[in-house]
């Protein structure tokens, strides 16, 4: 079981499209679209009824995170929550998040078995990607600000490196990517994995590394050694999937 997601949009196409996108990275997460009105075919708008039944469908016991688009989608979602019994209400979160980025981040977080609060926090932390100052976790520091990459002669610049072959069937998919990125974020080190920021779940997944492919890591900074050791351990254990 994982936390479920409900995507509330004025447009049924947007709601379904967001789920299509997020499901690529989180195939096991229950995501339910509540887009458009209750009419058939749906008009542009939102419907209390639709959100209510989507919530029921998405809630598998671990809670649901609701992602919305423009104003009235938020209002409709709020109303739906007000009609719920306190017990059901306590398992639901309505984060302030950008719909597309927030949904993808929430789905990835849910895929790794996180709690409803962790999933909601992931959604809120995923920012609109047109703000280059706060692009994490969608784009690496290097890509966001090419001028600011570390010069090679920085004191912290002697890298610790490692390379391993991925032994598990699913390779570096959403769950291990999220686990790796989270662990590396806690360390005081800059980590690059196959050329991308090792602290970015999205970029790690974008590598699409499968079974038998090589994962190369390079770390600098005070905890570079710990970072490489952590990655080595995780990869060799097949991310716990062997």
């Amino acid at each position: 079981m994982t936390v479920g997601l409900v995507i509330v949009s004025h447009s049924s196409k947007i709601a379904e499209g967001v789920i299509e996108l997020a499901a690529q990275m989180a195939p096991n997460v229950q995501m339910v679209a509540a887009g458009g009105t209750s009419d058939s075919p749906p008009r542009i708008g939102t419907s209390l009824e639709k959100v209510q039944s989507a919530l029921e469908e998405a809630d598998q016991g671990d809670g649901v995170v609701v992602l919305t688009d423009l104003g009235s989608a938020v209002m409709t979602a709020e109303m739906t929550l007000e009609f719920l019994a306190p017990d059901a209400r306590s398992r639901i979160r309505l984060p302030r998040a950008a719909l597309v980025e927030g949904s993808v981040a929430a789905a990835v977080q849910a895929e790794s078995g996180s709690t409803v609060d962790e999933v909601a926090t992931a959604a809120e932390g995923a920012v609109v990607s047109i703000d280059p100052e706060s692009l994490e976790p969608f784009v690496s520091h290097g890509a966001a600000a090419p001028g600011h990459s570390l010069p090679l002669d920085e004191p912290a610049g002697i890298p610790v490196t490692g390379a391993w072959t991925l032994p598990n069937k699913m390779g570096l998919h959403a769950r291990p990517a999220a686990v790796l990125a989270r662990a590396l974020t806690d360390l005081d080190a800059e980590v690059t994995i196959n050329g991308v920021d090792g602290k970015s779940v999205m970029l790690l997944m974008s590598l699409a590394l499968g079974e038998g492919q090589e994962l190369r890591a390079e770390a600098t900074g005070p905890q570079a050694q710990e970072a490489i050791e952590y990655i080595a351990g995780a990869v060799k254990a097949g991310f716990g999937e062997l």
């Binding site: 458009g36 009105t37 708008g45 209390l48 104003g71």
Partner: protein, 212 residues
């Protein structure tokens, strides 16, 4: 005699009729500063409520308002759904199971409705929203009640103030809702939500006048 469930039902049916008559006008107001769906959404929502009222079984004004609220929330589609839905739901809660609405109860349900819209939409007076019709309506109702007006007179005062409030949104710059994306370009146009509020409250006053 106060206003009964019979009046509440007549009010909603009259609102449906008036919103249908003003459909094109509301669409035009919304086309200029919004997404051009307010007229259609309101007509559709109130038509759905009318169809449900045909089923009967609403014995108190609150029951009529609650049915109205639930139906609008699922059929309007736009922001007006949750906003008017909340307004009617809060109005129903304020009335409880009272069979008749006296002038104090009129003020109480209008106030509850306005507070519900504020809580839901998080808009303030002057943001160019339906709050700019609801707030003067509530204030005028309170004044009329204090002066000893009947329930019908309280509703008439509220309706007149709501229409004045809707007109007064024309020079404002929208700070909430879809029109806020337009910024200064929203000035010079009346807010469609404020106008639909004025129409609905006018229907309340007109039907109350016919009941007594």
């Amino acid at each position: 005699m106060g206003l009964t469930a019979h009046w509440a039902e007549a009010w909603i049916r009259e609102s449906s009729k008036v919103l249908t008559e003003h459909r094109a006008e509301l669409i035009e107001l919304d086309r200029v500063i919004g997404d051009a769906d307010h007229g259609e959404n309101m007509q559709r929502g109130f038509a759905a409520v009318t169809a449900k009222l045909d089923g009967g079984g609403q014995d108190t004004p609150a029951a009529v308002f609650k049915l109205t609220a639930m139906t609008l929330m699922s059929t309007v589609g736009g922001a007006a759904g949750p906003l008017y839905g909340t307004a009617f739901l809060r109005a129903a809660t304020a009335l409880g199971d009272a069979a008749e609405i006296d002038p104090a109860a009129v003020v109480a349900f209008l106030t509850a409705a306005r507070d519900g819209v504020v809580a839901r939409g998080k808009a303030e007076p002057g943001d160019k929203t339906m709050i700019d019709a609801w707030t003067p309506a509530v204030e005028a109702a309170e004044t009329a009640k204090s002066a000893g007006a009947s329930s019908t007179e309280v509703l008439e005062a509220a309706a007149n103030a709501a229409q004045a409030g809707a007109l007064a949104t024309e020079p404002l710059i929208a700070r909430k809702g879809r029109a806020s994306y337009l910024g200064e370009r929203s000035a010079g146009h009346r807010d469609p939500g404020a106008q639909s509020t004025a129409l609905i409250l006018q229907a309340a006053a007109d039907t109350a006048g016919r009941e007594q």
